[in-house]
């Protein structure tokens, strides 16, 4: 037997597609198997999607910032407990020739009163100088002009509904006024950011208004300092120089470190990651059991036929190859509906929770790999049944 013939049989490229024909001989059983695999895949997509979505949601605002480097207080643990640091540290960073611009930002949780039913809820307030660049989105620059007047705020219309129908009223042209920390504010525009772990809603205002709403804040203190480097400069090199330049009462982070620190907080100090990973693991186990059952009974049903092939002189490994190909086919056919339904459910979850749950390549590949491992592992287990195929018994 030539090597090519061997590979041909192994991969079915130049031989009868035995694995496919064995699987499709009983369409109902195949459908059940695919439903099981798809279900397991959907479960994994959902659990991993929720997990990543929740972590991504924790940095919706972090990601928006127009910054290469970020200054925060070393005492800051997460976005819900930001500590202040002297604003002059941010100004000091301008001493570096490759720092192009800075934006001081105040960041704190405040109490928002629902203008419709007067209930109160905690909201994340961000204060900045309306003429400074804050977000990457250029639209904010235009909207921010409205903040130059005192007592004006931009409301995040993707905030949860408990904050009141602010977006709706504003679009209708009504004047939306309410209280933040007991002081009157007027909504001067809408932005779209989305809720996160720490905050169910967001508002943006001028530094002046921010300090009026929170009179206790020392005027020289900020929570976040955004630094932009000159085009072509290496942010990491600038970061190293600033770390050497500035005293120990501030931390210099790159933007991605800033995001990661926030995600890390939620990852390590909450049970969320564990719970959803466990959920995905359950999906994996359920899938394994289903595929193993299907392949095992498939091999058992066809045992006399496998024995016949062995009697004809087919080597055991070519029969193992048939079972392996069955596993591969199940993985591929079961993954496609899982991917499709996963997309649909993500859209549903986005609409219902406003969490940024989206399909991404990494997760698509991870789930496919898990399904592949599940099917090939089960196929390997089912192959042990092949050892029972005794060609001497078929006469």
């Amino acid at each position: 037997m030539s090597g090519r013939g061997c590979w041909g049989r192994l991969w079915g490229a130049r031989a009868i597609p035995l694995a496919w024909l064995l699987l499709t001989r009983q369409p109902v059983r195949l459908a059940v198997a695919l439903a099981g695999i798809s279900f397991a895949g959907i479960l994994m997509f959902m659990q991993l999607g929720f997990r990543d979505g929740l972590f991504d949601a924790s940095v919706t605002i972090h990601k928006e910032f127009d910054a290469d480097l970020v200054l925060i207080s070393p005492r800051t643990i997460s976005s819900v407990s930001m500590s202040g640091f002297p604003r002059r540290r941010l100004v000091q960073s301008l001493a570096d020739s490759e720092v192009a611009g800075i934006t001081p930002v105040n960041w704190n949780l405040m109490i928002w009163r629902n203008p419709e039913n007067r209930s109160t809820r905690s909201i994340l307030a961000i204060g900045f100088e309306p003429n400074d660049p804050l977000f990457l989105d250029p639209e904010l620059k235009i909207k921010a002009q409205a903040l130059t007047q005192q007592g004006r705020v931009l409301f995040d219309e993707q905030s949860r509904e408990e904050f009141g129908p602010v977006g709706e009223w504003f679009r209708e042209g009504r004047t939306v006024e309410t209280e933040v920390d007991g002081k009157r504010v007027r909504v001067a525009g809408l932005v779209g950011l989305g809720p996160s772990f720490g905050a169910d809603g967001n508002l943006i205002t001028s530094r002046e208004t921010f300090l009026r709403l929170r009179p206790g804040t020392p005027p020289g203190s900020i929570e976040v300092g955004l630094i932009r480097v000159t085009p072509g400069a290496d942010p990491v090199a600038v970061q190293a120089r600033l770390q050497a330049l500035l005293p120990q009462d501030v931390s210099v982070l790159t933007k991605s470190e800033f995001e990661e620190a926030e995600k890390d907080y939620w990852r390590s100090s909450t049970a969320i990651g564990f719970i959803f990973t466990l959920g995905a693991g359950m999906g994996f186990v359920v899938g394994c059991v289903i595929v193993y059952q299907i392949l095992y009974s498939d091999v058992s049903d066809h045992l006399p036929e496998y024995a016949t092939l062995m009697a004809m002189g087919y080597p055991l490994r070519s029969l193992l190859g048939v079972v392996a190909r069955e596993g591969l086919l199940l993985a591929m056919l079961g993954y496609l509906p899982a991917y499709g339904v996963g997309q649909g459910l993500y859209a549903l979850v986005r609409a219902a929770t406003k969490l940024p749950v989206e399909m991404n390549t990494t997760r698509a590949v991870v789930v496919f790999s898990l399904i592949l491992v599940m099917c090939m592992g089960s196929a390997t287990m089912a192959m042990r049944r092949l050892a029972d195929a005794d060609p001497a018994e078929i006469f």
Binding site: M1, S2, G5, G8, R9, R14, A15, I16, L18, L21, L22, T24, R25, H302, P304, E305, T308, L309, M310, A311, M312, G313, Y314, P315, L316, P391, A392, I394, F395
Partner: protein, 256 residues
């Protein structure tokens, strides 16, 4: 694997070149076989001697349970030889490995009582499972051969039919086509006519004999069926694990 093919090949060439009587396809000497172990050990074959030459059709008869099928599985390399000498196509089977026997089986066609076709394949694909064992042929060539064989057994109109759409006789003919498609040098058949009526049973053995003869293939056929005894070149009877040889075709004439 390549070396074993080579060995078989050179042996075949050698026998052709010296021009003498070619070596026997099957050579069995002093074969004994037992089933079970310890107290339960039971002898099924005792001191069996048998030779089959290329192109010869040998019928093996005897009451059921006398060890016919066991002999067939031993000659076919489906069981490990316990005691005695079995040479098939020049290869000694005593002490052979699983892999050696598996490679030997590629040159042995087998036809089973229950036809044992693959249910998920069409008639044509079943036969192709046989021709797929031939090395160095393209998919198209193997498929064409399979079709050729089905036409030879008179099933040219049933290529795409699934086994359950064929009658018993047709299924057995597909099984014959499958066994012959791998160009075997030895054909083993276990009661190929058991499930067939007398007419189709007759057709099947005639076909078997004709095709085997064309291929120069030795045939060992186990049967109970008295209606087909006359196809044999030689008739061998077995009783209680021993052979009662009929040295010439004389008893056949009497039976026929």
């Amino acid at each position: 694997m390549a070396s074993s093919t080579h060995r078989n090949g050179s042996q075949a060439n050698g026998s052709n070149s010296d021009g003498s009587q070619p070596p026997a396809t099957v050579e069995v000497r002093g074969l004994c076989h037992w089933y079970g172990e310890g107290e339960m050990r039971r002898q099924v074959l005792a001191d069996v001697d048998l030779s089959i030459h290329p192109g010869e059709v040998v019928l093996l008869t005897g009451p059921s349970g006398c060890g016919k099928t066991t002999l067939l599985t031993l000659v076919g390399g489906l069981r490990q030889v316990q005691q005695g000498q079995v040479r098939v196509l020049g290869q000694a089977l005593k002490g052979s490995s699983r892999g050696q026997r598996q490679r030997l089986r590629r040159q042995i066609g087998m036809i089973f009582q229950g036809h044992n076709l693959l249910r998920c394949l069409s008639a044509e694909q079943n036969v192709q499972m046989g021709s797929d064992l031939l090395p160095g042929l393209s998919y198209r060539a193997r498929r064409d051969q399979a079709r050729e064989w089905l036409r030879a057994v008179g099933l040219g109109d049933h290529l795409a039919k699934a086994p359950h759409d064929l009658s018993g006789g047709q299924k057995q003919r597909v099984a014959i086509a499958r066994a012959l498609a791998a160009h075997p040098r030895l054909l083993l058949a276990d009661e190929p006519t058991a499930a067939l009526d007398s007419r189709s049973g007759r057709d099947v053995v005639d076909l078997l004999k004709g095709l085997a003869r064309e291929q120069g293939c030795a045939v060992l056929l186990v049967t109970h069926d008295p209606r087909i005894l006359d196809v044999a070149d030689r008739l061998v009877e077995m009783e209680d694990g021993r052979l009662r040889l009929s040295p010439s075709s004389a008893p056949l004439v009497a039976l026929a």
